[in-house]
Every structure is written in structure tokens, then in C-alpha cells.
């Protein structure tokens, strides 16, 4: 049986197709202003027996194509447990939200927490900070790794943080140092959410921000080898959905 999973997030859409448990297709596109059309393009040459959708825009797919849906919490839980059996926690930092998910011994979701209304401390926040500092989004983490410690960014709000960064630049601070400080503040927030939920280890770090070298470096300082970085962190949800499509 061929199973497809789509994770339609606020920033990007992922498609994973599996056959007999093996990934045969994985693709990504930007959500843009018409995500349903993006999904149609992603699926143009794909045939599948069963489909499951997840992510913030799942309802639009249910309406457009009558595909079944599942929350991203369950999709990430299933994806993490299938990719790395024995995982007990998930940190997912995506485009516009941060999730911390506890899994029980059987890989089932037992508890979760999500950030509040705004995009503080998420991928979108890092993206805006990269722009303010004049870095490319994908090199921000690498540049931050070159930074020196010592600066503290206090604001998690993208708007306030931007003015904080601007005044640090005006003071003559190095932008790599500021970039490091930004990552440290995002990391502190994530670690806070993890501690609040008493997450058991090992923890899988998923979502687009798990591609960021500086975030990995900083989180490893706290969790060491208990933090697992999957091969394609942003596909965990879509993979989970594909697995669930077969159940």
C-alpha cells in the first residue's frame, strides 16, 4: 500500500509518501498565499492509496479534497515514535509555533504544550532577526556559532526584539554576537517549556528550526546525547501523517 502524508504549516508544506514503510517521495514547498494550490502541485505526479493530512491548514485540505485530518501533535508524535522508537519527548520549532510533546512508553502522546498566540521564539522570529542582521536565513545559525557570548536579548516578541537588536547594533555590538544572543534566547524559552512539562528523554528535535546549527549546539549543551536530530527534521509531521494514513 502507498500512503501519503501532508503537513500543511504556516510557512511550508511537506509531503511524504511511503510504501511498505519506506519513504519513496519527500517534497517541500512554501505555503504562500494559496496553500491548497501548492498541495495540488506537490501531488501532481503522485499516486497513493491513502492520505492523511495535518498541520495548521489541514482543515482547508479537508474542505478542498475531503482528505482525513489529524492534529500536528499526533502526527509529530507518531512520526517521532516511528522514526526513532523509544523517543519520549519532542521539541518542534516550526514556522509559527513551538510544541513540546510527551510520549509514553508505547510512543503515544500523553501531554503537550504549545506557545501562545504570537510567533515569539519560532522560526518566523529567527527569520525576522536574520533580516534585521543582514544574514541569509539558512546561514544565520552558522554565523551565530562564530559569535562571542556576553550579550543578552530579553525580548521574545519579534517586534520588540527587532528594536533591541537595532539599538545593540547602534552601540557597536558585533552582529555575530547578537545572532548568538538571539539563539540563546530562543533556546532558553524552549528549554523552559521542556522543563515545565518534565519531558523524559531521549528528545527528538523536529521542525524547520532543527536544521539550525546554532540551535542544535545550544540545546546539546543542556541535553547532550539525549537530544536526537532526525535526518529531515521538518518532515517528521508529514511522515507521521503518512504512517497514520495506513492505520
Amino acid at each position: 500500500m502507498i500512503q501519503a502524508g501532508i503537513d500543511i504549516g504556516s510557512r511550508s508544506i511537506e509531503l511524504v509518501v511511503i510504501e511498505e514503510g519506506k519513504v519513496i517521495v519527500s517534497r517541500q514547498a512554501e505555503s504562500g498565499y494559496n496553500p491548497v494550490e501548492r498541495v495540488q502541485e506537490l501531488l501532481a505526479d503522485i499516486s497513493f492509496d491513502r492520505m492523511m493530512t495535518t498541520g495548521y491548514g489541514r482543515a482547508s485540505l479537508e474542505i478542498a479534497f475531503d482528505y482525513p485530518t489529524v492534529t500536528e501533535i499526533k502526527a509529530y508524535g507518531t512520526g517521532a515514535a516511528s522514526l526513532h522508537p523509544g523517543v519520549r519527548g519532542i521539541l518542534d520549532i516550526g514556522g509559527q509555533d513551538t510544541k513540546v510533546i510527551s510520549l509514553n512508553e508505547n510512543g503515544k502522546v500523553s501531554k503537550f504544550e504549545m506557545n501562545d498566540k504570537c510567533a515569539a521564539g519560532t522560526g518566523k522570529f529567527l527569520e525576522m532577526m536574520a533580516t534585521t542582521l543582514g544574514y541569509q536565513q539558512h546561514t544565520l545559525g552558522l554565523e551565530a556559532l562564530k559569535g562571542q557570548e556576553g550579550i543578552e536579548i530579553n525580548s521574545m516578541c519579534a517586534v520588540f526584539a527587532e528594536s533591541e537588536v537595532t539599538s545593540l547594533l547602534a552601540k557597536g555590538c558585533q552582529r555575530a554576537d547578537i545572532a548568538l544572543a538571539i539563539h540563546q534566547s530562543v533556546c532558553r524559552r524552549a528549554v523552559g517549556m521542556i522543563k515545565r512539562q518534565d519531558l523524559k528523554t531521549p528528545i527528538l528535535f523536529a521542525g524547520g528550526v532543527a536544521n539550525n546549527a546554532c540551535m542544535i549546539h545550544l540545546l546539546k549543551q543542556t541535553f547532550g546525547d539525549d537530544l536526537i536530530i532526525p535526518e529531515s527534521p521538518q518532515f517528521v509531521g508529514a511522515y507521521g501523517a503518512a504512517v497514520l494514513a495506513g492505520l
Binding site: V70, T71, E72, I73, V109, S110
Partner: protein
């Protein structure tokens, strides 16, 4: 609905604002309530009351006023309806379940104030609540800090405000304070009506309110059945209407509905499918027309089987003992009954979590959703210990914090759906 324009004008409502509010409310009611399937026939009465909440019911209250009754508006279940009725007055709950005239409100209140407080300010400033306008006396109670400080401003906005102090703990001194306040309230009503309240008056008031609470608890118990014979939304609506309707008529209609539900339970017929995940809502009250979170929960395929809330079981459990020989004895019995309310403004407030556990067990719930209004310090503070205690007992908890706006619907749905997936 008949044309009530003249009545609304006489009451001093702002007709444009009021039309906008009613249009909004009507739309929400249609899409949330009237689209439900398998509703018991007895809900027809409550739909009717809602459709006439600003019309016929207000007309009735005005007729009562013409016949000499005073209308007492209040915001809290600590204002004793028994005493209001004993004084020959009518008790109504005041509107505080929707955002209105926000810009006006933020001229007089900090932004970071809970939605409920902002709401009754908005209804008052926007002149859209006929209950507020028809009230001869508006009773505010010093429960949380937000309310008691807001009342300092509010009492300058309305001509007929009466403030009631409230204890903060359940020690003997606290009880003494509540007794003192209830006696002062009784004296105030006597002064307003020129009528001396007798033992018999209070006994009659107690009988009416006890009968209403008995009917509400009958409804509560019927929801223990699987399949649940009534949706949580409809049950919440009934609990909300309990604050607006004529109490004797409400009791009669609710008992008739419960007779119908008795049969449905026997026949294993449900308003919600059998084996639907069952949820208790616990936390801040949901005043009309605050249906946001319950609508999200039931749209996610779960059924709400109890409200641990002032508009729900916390506000309605326990009858008042009417056996005392004297008026003072009866007042003591009223105090006894209200002093048991486990509102989060009290410290300590251990009984509340025990009640949540009890409700979870009695109504066969699979999990608890804790509902906190943003900036409601008492309930949000307590939600942490409630969550911990319940989880220690193996009860799944989801803590939600929200307000009356619709902007977080997407996130709320995701959280609630994920919680339902967990408890399924």
C-alpha cells in the same frame, strides 16, 4: 421577535449598537446551537427564551416593575437569590460574556483586564444590555481584585450600584463577614422595597431556589449516561438561562426536559454518539454568549458532561436548609450554603480540586479541560495545582487560556483536537 423598539428606547439602549449586538448574537446562536443534531424536543423552550432574552423577558421584567417588584442585577453566584426573592424582588444575571465597545472600555480600564470585567463595562458603556438598564439595583461583590477595583470605576458609571464585601478564606471570621454582608444586603432590600422580610418570606425564597437547583442537579446527573442525552452546549445554555428566566417557570420547563431525557437515557438514545470522549470543563464562568470553547470542544467530537464553573455545578450544587425556626436561623442557613462555594478567590481552596475529581468520576469523564480567562489571576494560578493534582490521579488535563476574541480559534482547535486524540 415582536417589535420592542419602543421598550429599548425607553430603557435608554443605544439602538444601533444594540441591533449590531443582536445580529451578531443571532448568527452565533444559529451556527453553534441550531446546527446540532438530535437535540431533545424540550430544548425548544430554551431556544425560545434565548430568542426573546432581550425582548419578551425584558417586557416581563418591566411588567413586574410596574406591579411594584424591584429588579436586582448581579454578576456573581455569591449574591443570594433566596434573599432577593424573599424581599419580593427578582434576580437577574448581568451580561458579561462578549466583547463590546472595547475602545471605550480601554479608556477606563487597563488593557490587561479579564474579558469578563471588560465585557460588563462594554455593555454598560455601549448601552446594549437591557438587563443592566432595567435593574433597580446593580450588586457588585468584592471577589477578585480585578472586579473589586473595577467596581470603583463602575459605580461612578451607573446610578444604582451596591457593593458587597466578600471573605477571602473559610475561617470563622470569613463566615462572620459573609453573614454581616448578607444581613446588610437584606436590610438594603428592605429599605428599597419598604417591606419587612419575614421568616416565611425567606422560606418561600429558599423553596423556589432549592427547586431550581434540584432541577439543575437532575440535569447534571442525567449527563452521566453514555450516550449522553444532551450536548454540553445545550446544558451550558440551560445553566446560563438559569440566571435570566423566571425561576419557577424555568424549574418547571427544566424538569419537563429532564423527564424527556430520562426516557432517552432508558432507550440509550443520545444527542452525541455513544463512546464519544467525555470532558469536564473546569474554571472560569462562561456567561451568555460565551460559547467559544465549548463549541470548539464539541466540534472536535467530544461531549462535555459537566461544568465545574459558577455557571454550572460550582454555582448550583448544595441546597439551602429551610428547617430553621427563626429568620436569623434561616439567614445562617443561607450563609452556610453559599460559604461552601469553592471559588478560586478563597485561599486555601483545596475543596475545588476534590470536587473536580468527584465530577470526573460521577460523570464518567475521560479528561478535564481547564478554562482560564486571560488575566483571571485566581483561576489561572490555581490551574497549575489543579493540573498537577489531577494528573497524579491519572486524569488527563488540558489547560487553556483565552479571552472573548475569535482570533485564537485555530490554535484552540488544534489543542482541543489533540487533547481529544489523547483521551479517546
Amino acid at each position: 421577535m415582536a417589535d420592542y423598539t419602543k421598550m429599548w428606547t425607553d430603557l435608554g439602549l443605544n439602538l444601533d449598537n444594540h441591533d449590531a449586538l443582536l445580529a451578531n448574537l443571532g448568527g452565533a446562536y444559529q451556527s453553534i446551537f441550531m446546527t446540532q443534531e438530535n437535540r431533545p424536543a424540550g430544548m425548544g423552550y430554551f431556544d425560545f427564551v434565548m430568542s426573546e432574552a432581550h425582548g419578551l423577558r425584558i417586557q416581563e421584567l418591566r411588567e413586574e416593575q410596574e406591579a411594584g417588584r424591584k429588579i436586582i442585577g448581579s454578576f456573581c453566584v455569591f449574591v443570594p437569590e433566596e434573599i432577593v426573592l424573599a424581599a419580593g424582588c427578582t434576580s437577574v444575571g448581568l451580561c458579561s460574556g462578549a466583547d463590546f465597545a472595547q475602545e471605550e472600555v480601554e479608556k477606563v480600564l487597563p488593557r490587561n483586564t479579564c474579558s469578563l470585567i471588560k465585557s460588563f463595562f462594554g455593555f454598560s458603556l455601549g448601552k446594549v444590555c437591557p438587563y443592566m438598564e432595567v435593574s433597580d439595583l446593580i450588586v457588585g461583590e468584592n471577589t477578585c481584585d480585578g472586579k473589586k477595583k473595577a467596581f470603583e470605576t463602575f459605580k461612578e458609571m451607573v446610578p444604582n450600584f451596591y457593593q458587597m464585601d466578600m471573605p477571602q478564606n473559610k475561617a470563622p471570621m470569613g463566615r462572620k463577614l459573609l453573614t454581616h454582608e448578607y444581613k446588610a444586603f437584606l436590610a438594603k432590600l428592605e429599605e428599597m422595597t419598604g417591606k419587612k422580610i419575614s421568616k416565611k418570606d425567606l422560606q418561600e425564597g429558599i423553596a423556589i431556589v432549592n427547586a431550581k437547583r434540584a432541577a439543575l442537579s437532575r440535569l447534571a446527573i442525567l449527563r452521566a449516561a453514555d450516550p449522553c442525552p444532551i450536548s454540553g452546549l445545550d446544558a451550558l445554555l440551560i445553566n446560563q438561562i438559569a440566571f435570566l428566566d423566571n425561576p419557577a417557570r424555568f424549574t418547571e420547563k427544566l424538569n419537563a426536559l429532564c423527564d424527556e431525557l430520562d426516557v432517552l437515557v432508558k432507550e440509550k438514545k443520545g444527542a452525541i454518539a455513544e463512546k464519544a470522549p467525555r470532558v469536564i470543563i473546569s474554571g472560569c464562568p462562561m456567561a451568555i454568549p460565551n460559547w467559544k470553547v465549548p463549541a470548539v470542544i464539541e466540534a472536535a467530537g467530544a461531549v462535555i458532561v459537566g461544568e465545574e464553573s459558577c455557571i454550572g455545578e460550582r454555582g448550583q450544587r448544595n441546597a439551602t436548609d429551610d428547617s430553621a425556626e427563626t429568620l436569623d436561623g434561616l439567614i445562617d442557613a443561607v450563609v452556610d450554603r453559599y460559604f461552601k462555594i469553592d471559588c478560586a478567590v478563597f485561599t486555601p481552596n483545596q475543596e475545588r480540586v476534590e470536587h473536580i475529581k468527584e465530577m470526573t468520576k460521577n460523570y464518567n469523564a475521560d479528561g478535564v479541560i481547564h478554562y482560564g480567562l486571560q488575566f483571571c489571576q485566581p483561576y489561572i494560578m490555581e490551574s497549575f495545582s489543579v493540573e498537577k493534582t489531577l494528573e497524579k490521579d491519572g486524569i488527563s488535563v488540558l489547560r487553556l487560556e483565552t479571552d472573548y476574541s475569535q482570533e485564537d480559534m485555530g490554535q484552540l482547535s488544534t489543542r482541543v483536537e489533540a487533547f481529544v486524540e489523547i483521551i479517546k
